[in-house]
């Protein structure tokens, strides 16, 4: 059993938890993830390691409440325990040691995943600009944390209720066109956002890393459920990723595969890309 040490609701649908797992905290690196299972009947669900504290022996996760398992997890409180917590899984983000300036882009809850990357880059002495996109002011998360690890933080909202009005890609285009030179762009968020970020950087030939979130079960390369197409080849995101070269990823296929177990169209923007309805569940 793994104890929940702290719980903080970042907004109505996004929660942060610190989980006691010293053996994972000792090993975790930016870009890796864990798989949790709340109880015996639960699903195995992947979440990015948002932060870790080797001294306290804790791992931080930040999750959006989208379905059964995340809802169930959110019913628990500090002091409660969950049954399974496996990690650290996946390949840590590889940062080119030559990189001098990087632009990190987060979309919605993707900012929670982008934040540890920004922090790792910042700690490595790299100049970090970050574009953090949200639908609206009331769902902004982690602003102070992000500000602390970035040189420039651009807050964007779709409806203009906070920061600048517009999409993260608008800002990125503007920054690039204004002559800012980036050695690398890291984009994490809804698949559709990552797809358009990659399309924006491609003509400028800026290397772009994206973090993929296909449906997973084991997270160790044994089911093939997480297969994604990258550079025309089949990759298992849990062991070959989750980070991949954004210019090589087949985003359309990923969006499509992620819709498989979807019962109805989600209303959240993070899901507006998953247009397929009627995925039937029977278990």
């Amino acid at each position: 059993m793994y104890k929940i040490v702290t719980k903080r609701e970042l907004n109505d649908t996004v929660t942060l938890m610190e989980i006691e797992a010293p053996h994972i905290a000792r090993k975790a690196k930016a870009g890796q993830f864990i798989i949790f299972r709340v109880d015996e009947q639960g699903e195995r669900v992947p979440l990015t390691i948002a932060d870790y504290d080797t001294e306290k022996g804790t791992v931080t996760i930040i999750f959006q409440i989208v379905g059964a398992s995340t809802k169930l997890l959110n019913t628990l409180n500090a002091g409660d325990s969950i049954l399974d917590f496996v990690g650290p899984l996946g390949v840590p983000t590889h940062i080119d040691p030559e990189a001098k300036r990087v632009c990190v882009i987060g979309g919605g809850v993707g900012n929670a995943i982008a934040y540890p990357q920004a922090k790792a880059l910042h700690n490595a002495g790299i100049q970090v600009d970050m574009i953090a996109g949200f639908r609206s002011k009331d769902i902004v998360i982690l602003e102070d944390e992000m500000r602390a690890v970035t040189d420039n933080l651009y807050m964007m909202t779709d409806d203009g209720t906070y920061g600048e009005k517009g999409l993260v890609t608008d800002k990125l285009k503007q920054l690039i066109e204004a002559g800012n030179h980036y050695d690398l762009v890291v984009a994490i968020g809804p698949v559709i956002m990552m797809k358009f970020v990659a399309a924006t950087t491609k003509p400028h030939n800026i290397k772009t890393l994206v973090s993929l979130n296909p449906i997973m079960i084991d997270g160790t390369g044994m089911c093939g459920g997480c297969r994604v197409r990258v550079g025309g080849k089949m990759k298992f995101a849990c062991v070959d990723g989750p980070d991949f070269d954004g210019h090589e990823v087949d985003f359309d296929e990923l969006m499509h595969r992620n819709s498989f177990y979807k019962e109805q169209e989600a209303t959240a923007r993070d899901h507006e890309c998953r247009l397929l309805k009627g995925g039937n569940q029977n278990g």
């Binding site: 009947q41 639960g42 917590f85 496996v86 650290p88 044994m222 459920g225 089949m234 819709s259 177990y261």
Partner: protein, 462 residues
């Protein structure tokens, strides 16, 4: 005078049309009378050909003699001398190629039902015997085991009995390996596996689940933590795909994913959250035990039509004879000498068919089996909504890529000597991780051998 009945004493089974709708065990097991009757078919051959067919040399005529006498506990003790998982082996060993394949009774008629008797004895013992397992006195030495499949569990048990302090690290949330995530409940009830695991815990074996070695701690770090030897029984869980068009369509599964969702994650039980697509027409590609299990699970999950699509003929089908027979009885349709070339999708990207080509058998290939060759222009479309790829697995690269000095062959199988020693000092390996996908009994045998070798290795260092 031996019982010369040409056929094995019949095994009571659930009716095919009943059982293909539930996950309860198919074969119900012998009664005491049936077991005694079958036992009298054994001729107690002096040279014991059957024993030579068994990878762990179960004392077959001896245990069968005890069954005939009605001394079932005695029979169990005889089996337990060489086999630590008889309830499992009696159910899943490919007996026709092993013990029973060598039985002299098999020359003219059916062999003695060694597997059925072994299963009976093990079940009888579980129900009536007393398994007071005593934790042996510790010898103060620590051994780590990676993987809680039959290889790892057997190695752990043997070492614990010798007094070693054993810790098993398992990546999944439960111990058992393929026995719990692959082989379905209707062939091997999970309660049996759970009992075996509980027995190990009583012996003092510590089982740590949720631990992916190579990600959390590496093999090298296990040594740093004070383990004096490490056994690797990580299996062969990496699924292969065919690399044909349409494999990313919705409705294409690897058998591993399909079986894991059903068996380990219990998609078939109410109350569990694991989703599984509702399928009507399923094609399972492949002809091994894994394919039979996937096909029979699909049927039980409610599919109307289930095909086994296999590129060779019935003769080459690698699955256990009993599983093929049971699958046929349950209404699985065998499309033999057929091979998929392309999976077709509808405008929503869901599987809506599979294009196949007919095959014919040519000259024998490297494996000694006749090579299937596609018949030009014989393409046809099979109407299916789900495709399950069951064309083989290979060892997961995680351990070998994170352990210094551990070598593997070109198929990714760890290189190990007869005694289980790998290319790295103090590291032993066995089971599917070394052989590639094989059998439960071979994995167990390898675990046993490695336990011996580890004992010798650690003693030689003291």
């Amino acid at each position: 005078m031996a019982n010369m009945a040409p056929k094995k004493t019949a095994m009571p089974e659930q009716e095919p049309n009943v059982r293909n709708k539930n996950f309860k065990e198919v074969a119900l097991g012998y009664t005491e009378e049936m077991a005694k009757e079958e036992a009298t078919r054994c001729l107690h051959c002096k040279n014991k050909p059957c024993v030579s067919g068994c990878p762990v040399n179960v004392h077959i005529p001896e245990f069968i003699a005890k069954v005939a006498e009605g001394d079932f506990e005695g029979a169990y003790q005889e089996i337990a001398l060489t086999n630590s998982l008889p309830a499992v082996c009696g159910r899943v060993c490919p007996q026709e190629n092993q013990c029973e394949g060598k039985c002299v009774r098999g020359i003219k008629a059916e062999p003695v039902g060694v597997g059925r008797l072994e299963r009976f004895v093990a079940d009888w013992h579980m129900a009536h015997g007393s398994d007071k397992v005593e934790k042996p006195a510790s010898n103060g030495h620590k051994v780590a085991i990676v993987g809680a499949g039959p290889a790892g569990l057997t190695c752990a048990g043997d070492l614990a009995k010798m007094g070693y302090q054993v810790t098993v690290y398992e990546a999944f949330h439960a111990a058992g390996g393929v026995l719990i995530y692959g082989i379905p409940e209707f062939r091997l009830p999970k309660a049996i596996v759970a009992k075996e695991v509980a027995k190990l815990e009583q012996l003092g074996v510590e089982i740590k689940t949720d631990m992916v070695i190579g990600k959390v701690d590496s093999v090298d770090e296990l040594f740093e933590q004070g383990f004096e030897a490490v056994f690797i029984g990580s299996g062969a869980g990496l699924p292969s795909f065919m690399n044909i068009e349409g494999e990313s369509l919705l409705g294409v599964y690897s058998a591993n994913e399909y079986l894991t969702r059903i068996n380990l994650m219990k998609a078939y039980k109410d109350g569990y959250d694991t989703p599984l697509a509702k399928s009507n027409k399923v094609a399972v590609i492949g002809g091994g035990n894994v394919a039979m299990d996937a096909a029979r699970c699909a049927k039980r999950m409610g599919a109307e039509t289930v095909y086994i699509v296999y590129r060779r003929s019935m003769e080459e089908l690698p699955a256990r004879a009993e599983e093929v027979h049971h699958a046929q009885e349950e209404g699985i349709i065998f499309k033999l000498l057929n091979n998929p070339v392309k999976i077709l999708g509808d405008d929503q990207g869901r599987v809506c068919g599979m294009e196949c080509v007919e095959m014919e058998l040519g000259e024998p290939d490297a494996s000694g089996r006749r090579r299937p060759i596609a018949k030009e222009g014989s393409n046809f479309t099979l109407d299916v909504d789900t495709v399950i790829m069951s064309i083989g697995t290979s060892p997961n690269p995680l351990i070998r890529t994170t352990t210094t000095g551990l070598e593997a062959n070109k198929h990714g199988c760890l290189i190990a000597k007869e005694n289980g020693a790998t290319t790295k000092e103090g590291v032993y390996a066995g089971g599917d991780a070394v052989t590639g996908a094989a059998t439960v009994i071979l994995a167990m045998g390898a675990g046993k051998t490695a336990a011996q070798s580890i004992d010798e290795y650690i003693k030689s260092k003291c």
